[in-house]
C-alpha cells in the first residue's frame, strides 16, 4: 500500500498546525507503508509565494514532491471576495473564484494526482478549504481521505464545501465537535469517518527550573503558547488578565510564547518570550500553573494536548466548542465565556493546587487513552484497512 499526503505546505521549519500535523502523521505512518508527500513550493501562508524549488527532496526519509504555485494570493482582493460571498447573495462561480484566490493555486499538483492516481492506494488531504484539497478530492474521490481540520468558520457554509464533504472515501476528524459540525452541515453520515486527532512529540525530559533560569521567570505563571494575534483571542486574554490583576491583586504572571502580530501590553507581569524551540516550550509548560487558551477557533488545539501530556490544567474559551468539549470529555480543564467567569475560574485554579493537580492528572489520563502515537497510528491503519476490505 502506498499513501500520498497532500498538504498546502511541508517542511521542517513550517510550524502551522495542519502542516505540522501532516508531517508528524506521515513520519509515523512511514513505519508501516511507503509514504510520499505532495505539496506546493510555498513557504509564506499569506501570499503562497514560491520559495522552494519545484523538485523532489527527501525529508526525514520521506519523499516530498513540490509543485509551483501559479499565482500568489493578493490579500486585498481575497478580502474583498471573501466579504462579498459572505455578505451577499452570490453564485457558485463566485465561490470558485474565491477558492482560486484562496490558493495555493497549483494546477500541476492536481495534474500529477490525476496522472499518477494508480501509483497510490490513498491520498490523504489535509485542510478542506484550500485549492489542493478541493480539486484533489474532485480528481480522485474514490481514493481520497480527508482530514478537514475545520473550525467554526463562516466559509464552511459555502455550497462548494457542503458538496465536497460528501465526496471523499473517508474522513479523519480531529474532534467529535468537528465531526458533528461537518455532518450537520453536509448530511454526510454515510461517509465513514473516525475521530483520531494527532499525537505530540513530548521530549523525554523537561525542566521547569531550566526554563526559569534561562528566561528569568520567577514566581507562579500561567502560559499561552501559539501565535499571538486577533483570531486567537489574544486581545481578550490581555484585557481579562489585566483586569484580573487589578481586581484581585494576584501575583500570577502571564508568559506568552509565540510570534506576534499584535502589540503586547507593557505590564511587568506580562512576559513575551517570542518563538522558542520545542525543548524550551515544554520546559515552560512543565513549570506553568496552567495553560490558558483564549482562542475562538480551534479544530483540535495541539498545545492543549501537550499541556495535558505534561499533566497541566487548562483554562479555555468556552466559545470554542472544541476546547469546551475537550475539557468536558477529559475533565482536564475549566472554561469561561466572559470576564466574570474567567475571573472566578482563575481564582479557583490559583487557590487550589489540588484542583490543578487533579485536572492535570485527568488530562494526562485522557491524553494517554486517546492521543499517544500508538493509538493514532492504529486508528489510521484501521480506517485504511476498513476501506481496503470494503473495496
Amino acid at each position: 500500500m502506498t499513501i500520498a499526503f497532500v498538504v498546502q505546505r511541508y517542511g521542517l521549519e513550517i510550524n502551522g498546525g495542519a502542516e505540522l500535523h501532516c508531517r508528524w502523521v506521515a513520519e509515523h505512518m512511514r513505519k508501516y507503508m511507503p509514504v510520499e508527500v505532495l505539496t506546493s513550493c510555498a513557504h509564506d501562508y499569506i501570499t503562497w509565494r514560491n520559495h522552494y524549488p519545484e523538485s523532489e527532496e527527501v525529508i526525514n526519509d520521506i519523499r516530498v514532491r513540490r509543485f509551483p504555485v501559479t499565482k500568489p494570493r493578493r490579500p486585498e482582493k481575497f478580502g474583498r471576495l471573501q466579504n462579498y460571498i459572505l455578505e451577499h447573495e452570490h453564485r457558485e462561480k463566485d465561490e470558485l473564484a474565491w477558492l482560486e484566490e484562496e490558493g495555493p493555486t497549483s494546477p500541476k499538483l492536481i495534474h500529477f494526482i490525476r496522472k499518477h492516481e494508480s501509483d497510490y492506494d490513498y491520498f490523504i488531504f489535509f485542510s478542506y478549504r484550500y485549492y489542493h484539497a478541493y480539486w484533489g478530492i474532485h480528481t480522485v474521490p474514490g481514493k481520497s481521505i480527508l482530514v478537514p481540520t475545520a473550525e467554526h468558520d463562516p466559509v464552511i457554509h459555502l455550497k462548494i464545501f457542503r458538496d465536497l464533504f460528501r465526496m471523499p472515501r473517508a474522513f479523519i476528524y480531529n474532534s467529535e465537535e468537528e465531526r458533528v459540525m461537518i455532518q450537520t452541515l453536509s448530511r454526510n453520515q454515510s461517509v465513514p469517518g473516525l475521530v483520531v486527532g494527532v499525537g505530540t512529540e513530548v521530549p523525554s525530559s523537561f525542566s521547569a527550573e531550566r526554563f526559569r533560569q534561562k528566561h528569568g521567570v520567577d514566581g507562579p505563571y500561567m502560559i499561552y503558547v501559539g501565535r499571538i494575534d486577533q483570531n486567537k483571542g489574544c486581545p481578550h486574554l490581555f484585557d481579562y488578565f489585566l483586569r484580573f490583576k487589578k481586581d484581585t491583586g494576584s501575583d500570577i504572571k502571564l508568559v506568552l510564547i509565540g510570534t506576534t502580530v499584535l502589540k503586547i501590553p507593557s505590564h511587568p507581569d506580562v512576559r513575551h518570550l517570542g518563538f522558542l524551540p520545542e525543548e524550551d516550550k515544554f520546559d515552560a509548560l512543565s513549570g506553568a500553573e496552567l495553560l490558558v487558551m483564549p482562542s475562538f477557533y480551534e479544530s483540535l488545539s495541539m498545545v492543549t494536548l501537550e499541556a495535558w501530556a505534561l499533566g497541566r490544567a487548562v483554562l479555555a474559551n468556552a466559545h470554542c466548542k472544541v476546547l469546551k468539549g475537550q475539557c468536558q470529555r477529559s475533565n482536564g480543564g475549566l472554561y469561561y465565556e466572559n470576564y466574570p467567569e474567567f475571573r472566578e475560574a482563575l481564582k479557583l485554579l490559583l487557590a487550589s493546587p489540588r484542583l490543578r493537580a487533579v485536572l492535570g492528572e485527568n488530562g494526562k489520563a485522557y491524553y494517554d487513552a486517546n492521543y499517544t502515537w500508538d493509538i493514532i497510528e492504529k486508528k489510521y491503519l484501521a480506517i485504511m484497512n476498513e476501506l481496503g476490505a470494503g473495496r
Binding site: E95, H157, R227, Q230, P235, V261, L348
Partner: protein, 312 residues
C-alpha cells in the same frame, strides 16, 4: 473528630468539589453561578497598553465578548484559516437548497407598467383659483409679450435643450427603473428555478446515497456468502484429499499382503516338496530297517543254531 463533609469533597469559596470524581461541566456551572452572584464589576478603563493600535477598545461591561471581527489588515491565519475571518454568520447563497435562516428571497414584486414616453412632465400652467401672484404674472406676461420673440431668440435654445435633456433623462430613469425591476424579477425567477433544480439534485443524491448503501450491503452479503461457499468447497476438497490418501495407503497395504501371500505359497510348495522327499526317505529307511531286522533274525537264528551245534 469527623468533619461533616467527606475528605474528598472540599468547598472552596462555597464551591463543592469532589476531587475523586471531578465533573468539569458541573464545576463550571457552579463557577457561573458564583460569577453571577459576585458583586458587579464597576465600569473601568483597563490599563491601556502602550502602542495598542491593534487592540480593540475594552468593553466597560462584562458582557460576552464577540468573536474577532474582520480586521483591516492581514491577520495571519491559523493552520487551517487563511485571512482573518468576519463575524460568523452564515452566508446567503441563492443557489443553495439548504440555506440556513439567512435565506431571504422576498416574494417577487409585481411588474410595473411600462412608463409612457414621452415623460409626463407637464408645461401646462396649474389651473385653479388665481391669487395675487398669478395676476401679477399675467400682467407681466402681457407687458413682456411684445419682446417675446427677442427673448425666445436668446433663451429658447438653452431652455429648450435643457427641457429636452430633462425630459429624456426622466424618461431614461423611468425606463431604467423598469428594466431593473424586470431584471430583478427575472433573477428571482431563475433563482427559484435553480433552487428547485438544486433540491431535486439533492434529493436524487440522497437516493443515490441510499442506493449505494444498499448496493454496498448487498455486495457485502454476497461476498460473505461466496466466502462461506468457498470455505465449504475447500473443506470438501480437503476431505477428498484425505480419503484419497487413505485409499492409497490401503492399496499399498494390499500389495504388501499379496507379496506376502506369494511368499507363503512358495514356502508351502517348498515345504511340501521337502516333506515328500523326507517321506520317501523315511519309507526307504523303513524298508531297509525291515530288511536288516530280517537279516538280524536270520543271523540270530544262525547263531543259535551254531551255538547249539557247538554245545553238542
Amino acid at each position: 473528630m469527623n468533619s461533616s463533609k467527606p475528605e474528598k469533597t472540599k468547598a472552596i469559596d462555597s464551591l463543592e468539589i469532589d476531587y475523586d470524581h471531578i465533573d468539569v461541566a458541573a464545576l463550571v456551572t457552579q463557577i457561573q453561578k458564583a460569577a453571577a452572584e459576585a458583586p458587579p464589576v464597576e465600569a473601568r478603563e483597563t490599563v491601556a497598553p502602550r502602542d495598542s493600535t491593534s487592540l480593540p477598545s475594552p468593553s466597560p461591561r462584562d458582557s460576552t465578548p464577540p468573536p474577532p471581527a474582520s480586521p483591516s489588515g492581514l491577520g495571519p491565519p491559523d493552520s487551517t484559516a487563511s485571512l482573518p475571518r468576519p463575524a460568523p454568520t452564515a452566508p446567503r447563497v441563492t443557489t443553495s437548497p439548504t440555506s440556513g435562516p439567512q435565506d431571504s428571497i422576498s416574494p417577487p414584486l409585481p411588474l410595473p407598467p411600462i412608463p409612457p414616453s414621452p415623460s409626463p412632465l407637464s408645461t401646462e400652467p396649474v389651473s385653479g383659483p388665481q391669487g395675487l401672484k398669478q395676476k401679477i404674472k399675467i400682467i407681466l406676461r402681457k407687458l413682456i409679450k411684445p419682446f417675446f420673440p427677442v427673448i425666445r431668440l436668446l433663451a429658447f435654445p438653452i431652455h429648450e435643450e435643457l427641457r429636452t435633456t430633462i425630459e429624456s433623462l426622466h424618461e431614461t430613469n423611468m425606463r431604467l427603473d423598469y428594466l431593473f425591476q424586470l431584471l430583478h424579477f427575472q433573477e428571482e425567477k431563475y433563482d427559484r428555478r435553480l433552487e428547485s433544480v438544486d433540491q431535486r439534485i439533492y434529493r436524487n443524491e440522497l437516493r443515490l446515497d441510499t442506493l449505494e448503501e444498499r448496493h454496498g450491503d448487498l455486495e457485502q452479503k454476497f461476498d460473505q456468502r461466496l466466502e462461506i461457499v468457498d470455505q465449504r468447497i475447500e473443506k470438501s476438497e480437503q476431505r477428498l484429499d484425505r480419503s484419497e490418501g487413505a485409499l492409497d495407503e490401503r492399496l499399498k497395504d494390499l500389495d504388501k499382503s499379496m507379496d506376502y501371500i506369494r511368499l507363503l505359497y512358495n514356502l508351502d510348495h517348498n515345504l511340501v516338496v521337502e516333506l515328500t522327499k523326507l517321506k520317501i526317505e523315511a519309507d526307504t529307511l523303513k524298508t531297509k530297517f525291515r530288511i536288516l531286522e530280517k537279516d538280524q533274525e536270520f543271523l540270530q537264528k544262525r547263531e543259535k543254531a551254531l551255538e547249539e551245534r557247538s554245545a553238542k
